[in-house]
């Protein structure tokens, strides 16, 4: 065990920090610390411009292999980049789905043509992606996909029909990857395909979902004979589940440390508020702030263990706790933020339903324990996969 990074890694850290300090200024100053969870709908144009600034600096897709346009950065370097990016207040990445999900999926499962057509746009910060996984009746039960894909021999394209939901950034995305049923008689995770679909076409309608926060970053996406080119299916028809599960695997630990730096920014804001209004003298608040600090420190140690684990990048059983852990932690932080603010927690600044950052944290954190697998589903996963307890019986 050693906790220090190497001298080379520390130099890399300085490089990242220096670049961020030089670039996240001027026109980009307003987007510092913006565009994160609960705030993803904000400053879209500026964040697109920022994405291209990143690309110009060589800071997009750094974990991709060099032959795909990346830097082939080590895990340590990816961690360092994520940390310094968040520490500097780097805005929520418009390209994170392309960089973190589409790209790795295509690199692993796509053909050369797909890699050649899609990777450069992602790398350049010019093409943005959204994901079409969940459906109204396929939430926790992800395999219960009802969206259908039918190959139209005449026109030589796939026609997609159905509805996806909880699609963030759908209004601003150029492309969407979609799981759809290629075999209409199939059930569960069989007979699915993984499709790459252009958003700007008549067969697609995006309807924003207004959230508890009053804002909309999630959307419903309706497919009504939406077209998908014959060459834009990843893998074969029927391989969709395999590709999709591989993709979920890419949501590995590296980004978690950047995420945690965002959490640290939030905790710092709570601490600042407590010092400011005197709540820092309240013994009960002090306990809870310390508890949040303990929880976040340990979240980091957990991630370091996860990242240092299996050299093949496979997830250790203990990695199953991560989602439940952070989602519960952040939900508690949201409540703590409100209790620190006291009666002022209720008050909105300005006209309209405009929440402050801590208020957004409070309300949006109630979604954290739901999306990406509810706390209940996470506990099932821990019990069944990590502890080997009997699986939950399915109904008929």
């Amino acid at each position: 065990m050693k906790l220090e990074f190497s001298a080379a890694d520390e130099a890399f850290r300085e490089e990242v920090a220096g670049w961020m300090a030089e670039n996240l200024v001027g026109e980009f100053a307003p987007i510092r610390f913006r565009g994160g969870p609960g705030d993803e709908h904000m400053y879209v144009e500026e964040r697109i411009a920022w994405e291209q600034r990143l690309a110009a600096g060589g800071w997009t897709c750094i974990g991709w292999p060099e032959e795909c346009g990346g830097r082939g950065a080590s895990i340590e370097q990816q961690v360092i980049f994520a940390e310094e990016y968040a520490r500097a207040g780097g805005p929520g990445r418009m390209g994170h789905i392309g960089e973190g999900l589409t790209g790795p999926t295509l690199i692993a499962f796509g053909n050369e043509d797909q890699q050649a057509r899609f990777l450069p746009g992602i790398r350049a910060g010019k093409e943005f992606w959204c994901q079409g996984y969940s459906e109204p009746s396929a939430g926790s039960d992800l395999a219960n996909v009802k969206t259908k894909a039918r190959f139209d021999e005449e026109r030589g394209v796939w026609l997609i029909n159905g509805q996806k939901v909880w699609t963030s950034l759908a209004q601003d995305a150029d492309w969407c990857f979609v799981i759809a049923r290629t075999d209409p008689d199939s059930v569960a995770h069989k007979g699915l395909g993984f499709f790459l679909i252009r958003m700007d076409q008549p067969g697609i309608e995006v309807r924003p979902i207004r959230q508890i926060t009053g804002t909309s970053e999630f959307n419903e996406v309706f497919f009504d004979d939406a077209e998908c080119g014959a060459g834009d299916i990843v893998g074969a028809p029927g391989d969709g589940w395999k590709v999709a599960m591989g993709l979920l695997g890419f949501e590995r630990g590296v980004s978690t440390l950047g995420q945690q730096m965002g959490f640290q920014n939030e905790l710092n804001a709570v601490i600042a508020a407590a010092k400011d209004n005197g709540a820092a003298a309240d013994p009960l608040i002090r306990q809870r702030i310390a508890d949040a600090h303990v929880g976040l420190k340990i979240m980091r140690y957990n991630s370091l263990r996860m990242l240092s684990g299996g050299g093949d990048g496979s997830l250790q059983p203990e990695a199953t706790i991560y989602k439940l852990y952070w989602a519960s932690w952040r939900r508690n932080l949201g409540k703590l933020a409100m209790d620190v603010l006291g009666p002022e927690a209720e008050m909105l600044e300005g006209q309209g339903y405009e929440l402050g950052p801590l208020q957004t944290l409070f309300l949006f954190s109630r979604a954290d324990t739901i999306y990406g697998g509810t706390n209940q589903i996470q506990r099932n996963i821990i019990a069944e996969r990590a502890l080997g307890m009997p699986r939950e019986p399915k109904g008929n």
């Binding site: 939430g139 909880w166 009666p343 209720e346 109630r366």
Partner: protein
Amino acid sequence: MEFAFTEEQIMIRETAAAFLQEASTSAAVRAAMDTELGYDPELWSTISSDMFWQAIHLPENCGGMGLGYVELVATLEQMGRYLLCSPFFSTVCLAANALLVHASDEQQIEWLSPLASGEKTATLAYTSRGTDWSAESVSVTWTPVADGYELNGEYRYVIDGHSADCLILAAREVGSTGADGIRLFLVDSDTEGLQRQRLGTIDETRKQAAICCDSLRVPVSAVLGDPATEACSSLSTVIDLATICVAAEQVGCSQQALDSTIAYTRERVQFGRTIASYQAVKHKAADMMLKVEAARSAAYYAACIAEEALSGGVLGQELAEAASVAKAYCSDAAYFCTGTGIQLHGGVGFTWEYDIQMYFKRARASEALFGAAGQHRERLAAMLLDAPAIGGAL
């Protein structure tokens, strides 16, 4: 000893529930909360003319029905359950109670009557910026001037303060501290020297306002009760009475969170089963029900004590304790039940479209009103640990 509703009380509760289910629908609540006023004046009229709720616990000589606090609380529980947007809480549970507790008989007849009839709305202003909700926190000051008083200072968190027709203002003599020097003044809200501003709130179903008194002049006749009598203890009683009303609303809010969640989980199918069939969901629901029922017991008991306090009964001495027990428990219960409600709704739980988020916001907002749960526990701790024990008095 009979700790159960009479048949008449059951009827009042059921009537309220039936009326509000029709009148305070999700659409009606959303429409009302989007207005600057914050409520539908027509519905407010109907409530007074058809339901007589404003009059429930007010004395008959002031146009009231002379019923008890239990009937009031039973009605408030239903208002909380259906998120009724109205100035009922401010008018009846704050202003009318202040008049009941501290005004002279003549003042009561003059000032309570238009409240009882629904003709006027009113509220009580006593808090300023900060976390202290006790009577002693009053910071707006009065100084004697010719023919009356001059008030200066700023109130905050005044419920319906932007819309109320009349305001009862708590102020303290300049230079006084603690329980000393506090008086209550009743003024029309269009009096010169008053500036009122609605404050945006996360929970849009109940409006709050800031009120600034800038050399506000009020006549001697505006003072509630005998101008020489200290009002701190009365104000404290009024706060406790209002606190019990909030607790009752929280019970209704918790109950509805439970009911709507159960209904949703019976419909929602995942992995081929309704999610209501999963033990994880069932056990959360069971915990919600435990809290709902315990909260209800606490609110009803406190209502009985409030009734005793208003009628001079011996159990009225328990008012502060009963109010803090109810508020501490019901606040936590409502937050738990509405938050768990969101969780068990899954994805739709955090959409604007579903109502559970409104209940969650209401729970969070009402938790802060009149002191957070921790503050009420500390108040009880002081009774238990710093003074001769009340522990034996179970």
